[in-house]
């Protein structure tokens, strides 16, 4: 078992790994068997609250020429967009609520309030990222193709600009997400069918037109004399959403303790090893219920990676069980306050903009560059973490 070479897991026998796998499976089954009206009420209420916030924000912003209304409306809209994108949209698209058999709250039909089309997201995120989590060269979320976030990634003078790219990515996060599935690197290296790229661009363009039209044309026009202040309010709300979601998402895999893997380590991987990789690849942060809801439950990143399609309102109770397992089997469980997790992320980003990385703890396979897998290669992959296995 290749993942057994990872030092965090070296003390486990093969039987223990199998046993862990069964225990993780048992957590899943017990939650699945218990899903019911309480959970349905949670998501329906959340959606109701979120839609009311949108309406309140839009109506308030009709008066946005009046500064207090601008502030209130912008705040409401930012909160509404954050809730929609994170705790609702992201989780619905993971299929967390498909069990309700409700076509209005279903991964197959949900379209979220951002410029990224659901279709592209479900591919780049649900499939590529959640299947090949933190595998260098396979998971495009390790640095998103523009940042050096791991010492194992070779340094290039391009990385000197990292502080700037990072700031730009934070500000324009929504746009980065929208273009993510295009896989710019594959296009640059001509490993992608241009026809497919054109098709994707068309889908993105259609979504962008509607999103931008709504925020920067339709509502400003409806506000009449408050046209300009509505534009700035909507832009600010989008910006707040961008910064917040950027920060939360960067705390998921980049703080100290969240590890990356080499392709060799996938060798012979079965479901138990897949669980272990998810466990070690993600980092949690602490917080109250409100913070967790506002961050799409990604403070439970570990639980989210272990069970991406279980309803997010169950993560707190799952987390208690996962932590207990980690204690029993002496496994790492990375968690810290949000400011510390983000602080570590930022420090790593800045440090890795320069060559060398002597302070990093683990440097397996340093300097070797795994070739990036093309989408076609990923599609052909049918090992244990192929998409059905990962979500079923």
């Amino acid at each position: 078992m290749a993942i057994g070479n990872v030092k965090e897991f070296a003390h486990l026998t093969d039987e223990q790994v199998e046993d862990l796998g069964r225990r993780f499976d048992a957590i899943r089954s017990s939650i699945e068997a218990d899903l019911g009206s309480r959970d349905a009420r949670y998501i329906r209420n959340l959606i109701r609250v979120q839609r009311r916030l949108v309406v309140a924000a839009r109506v308030t912003l009709f008066a946005s020429a009046f500064p207090p209304a601008w502030v209130a409306g912008t705040g409401l809209l930012a909160v509404a967009k954050i809730l929609e994108n994170m705790e609702i949209g992201h989780n619905v698209m993971h299929g967390q609520w498909d069990w309700m058999n409700d076509p209005e709250i279903h991964s197959g039909t949900w379209e979220w309030d951002t410029t990224c089309p659901a279709e592209g997201w479900k591919h780049s995120h649900n499939y590529v990222h959640h299947t090949f989590t933190n595998v260098l060269g396979k998971d495009n979320d390790v640095g998103y193709g523009i940042l050096r976030v791991r010492p194992e990634q070779p340094w290039h003078p391009f990385n000197l600009g990292q502080p700037v790219y990072n700031a730009l990515l934070a500000l324009l996060f929504e746009w980065g997400v929208a273009l993510h599935d295009l896989d710019i690197e594959a296009i640059r290296k001509r490993r992608k069918d241009p026809a497919e790229t054109r098709r994707q661009l068309k889908v993105i363009w259609r979504k962008v037109r509607r999103q931008v039209g709504k925020d920067y044309l339709v509502f400003p026009l409806l506000s009449g004399p408050a046209f300009a202040s509505t534009v700035t309010a909507n832009a600010t709300a989008n910006l707040i959403r961008n910064l917040w979601s950027y920060m939360i998402i960067f705390c998921g895999h980049f703080p100290d303790g969240a590890e990356v893997f080499l392709e060799e380590e996938l060798e012979g991987e079965q479901r138990p090893q897949w669980y272990l990789r998810q466990l070690l690849g993600a980092a949690n942060f602490e917080g109250g219920r409100l913070l967790h809801v506002m961050s799409g439950s990604l403070g439970y990143q570990i639980e989210h990676h272990l069970f991406p399609d279980l309803p997010s309102n169950r993560y707190p109770e799952i987390a208690a069980q996962v932590r207990e397992l980690c204690r029993t089997y002496r496994l790492p469980y990375t968690i810290g306050p949000l400011h510390r997790q983000y602080g570590q992320t930022l420090r790593t980003l800045l440090k890795l903009s320069l060559p060398g990385s002597s302070s990093q703890r683990r440097r397996r396979g340093e300097g070797r560059r795994a070739p990036r897998a093309t989408i076609e290669e990923l599609r052909r992959y049918d090992g244990p973490m192929a998409p059905q296995a990962a979500v079923s």
């Binding site: 009311r52 069990w99 309700m100 209005e104 991964s107 197959g108 709504k214 059905q388």
Partner: protein, 388 residues
């Protein structure tokens, strides 16, 4: 905050309600004329409002004000639950936007109810006559022993509950004008579609020559017994023959109960056995084309082997036993499965079988080539993959 939210909700509601409502109205009117599109002007209004609500539809906001104000998923509100017998009740439902009252007497409607957070769907024959001037329609449900939904509908449904509705469909209908001589033969809850036909005939005031053989195990269990007897009193053309466990009417007795049955166009609905017998009887008389049958359940004579079902496009895999239909298995795994009657009648549920084998629960037939299969009446025969 909450006061403002409420105000705001009302404001947007008012703004879009007009637009949405006219659009839906238009769609309903246009649809009834059989033209596919909305009138261009209302269509435009709706499109403009949708620019504000994108990526959602105006309906997604409006149904928060009133659950019936959406045509995205047609909804209905249960306004009354009227007990009929010990184990049957009539649900009077007020449908919301997108519903059309131009269904034909005898058709059934799909009703979805959220039970423990999950939407369960079943089909029920509409028992009320189609009347666009009324804003309700009715179905009558008999609680099946150990049934998952029917018991809940009869005993556990509070008035005010919002249910989902699928458009009425089905070919077990009364033609307009009706044939001059009819035979209705109903058993148990099978009287429901015929009830809509009788009520339609009464409403039109043209009762043709009808013989109605209606069976129920006990008199006290007989659905609509009072209404049917009253009909017989009022209409000389309508003759009611009541059968029960003590006085059964089987196909062999038909000659006695209705000597001229060969001259009548027949509508038969009831238990599986009765339907099989009737089918046989009419076919042997060479009168198969005069017989209309409605089956409420597919008799499951076969049990498949079960296996691992892969829903290819949805990336789901489930293990299912041989009694679980592919439709139920898919829904349980959160796959958005298409369906209609759920009983092997309408073919709405057909999905391509990509590989492996499935077995027809009605007759044990095995399908294995690339072909469309009815997921509601087939189960896995070993591992299989379907394209959805």
């Amino acid at each position: 905050m909450s006061a403002r939210t409420h105000l705001a909700t009302v404001a947007l509601g008012a703004l879009t309600a007009a637009a949405g409502a006219t659009a839906i109205e238009a769609r309903r009117r246009v649809a009834s004329r059989g033209i596919g599109a909305l009138r261009p002007d209302t269509d435009l209004v709706r499109q403009v409002v949708a620019r504000m609500t994108t990526p959602l539809l105006p309906d997604d906001y409006l149904h928060l004000l009133n659950p019936l104000w959406t045509a995205r998923e047609v909804r209905g509100r249960v306004v009354r639950v009227v007990p009929e017998t010990e184990d049957a009740a009539t649900l009077v439902i007020r449908p919301g936007w997108g519903w059309s009252f131009d269904y034909q007497p005898g058709q059934y409607v799909g009703i979805g109810v959220s039970v423990e957070g999950r939407w369960l769907w079943r089909s029920y024959s509409i028992t009320s006559a189609p009347r666009p001037d009324q804003r309700h329609f009715a179905v009558t449900v008999k609680a099946m022993p150990e049934g998952r939904l029917s018991g809940h509908l009869v005993r556990g449904l509070a008035p005010g509950t919002v249910v989902r509705l699928a458009v009425p469909q089905g070919g077990f209908v009364l033609p307009d004008p009706p044939p001059p001589r009819l035979l209705f033969w109903t058993g148990g809850s099978g009287v429901t579609p015929v009830m809509a036909m009788l009520r339609t005939l009464v409403r039109r005031g043209t009762m043709p020559d009808v013989v109605h053989v209606h069976a129920a195990p006990e008199r006290s269990e007989s659905l609509f017994a009072d209404e049917l007897r009253a009909l017989a009193d009022q209409h000389a053309n309508y003759r009611l023959v009541e059968a029960s466990r003590d006085r059964p009417v089987r196909v062999g007795d038909l000659e006695r109960a209705c000597p001229d049955w060969r001259l009548r166009e027949a509508w038969v609905c009831g238990p599986e056995r009765m339907l099989d017998d009737a089918e046989d009887h009419w076919r042997r008389a060479g009168l198969g084309d005069r017989l209309h049958l409605e089956r409420f359940s597919a008799s499951r004579t076969a049990e498949a082997e079960g296996g691992r079902i892969t829903f290819a496009a949805s990336d789901r895999v489930v293990e299912a036993d041989g009694a679980t239909s592919l439709l139920e298995a898919g829904e349980g795994a959160g796959v958005a499965m298409p369906f209609g009657c759920r009983m092997g009648i309408c073919h709405t549920c057909v999905v391509p079988l990509a590989s492996g084998a499935v077995q027809d629960l009605r007759n044990g037939d095995i399908y294995r080539d690339r072909q469309g299969i009815q997921t509601c009446v087939t189960a896995a025969a070993g591992d299989c993959t379907i394209d959805i």
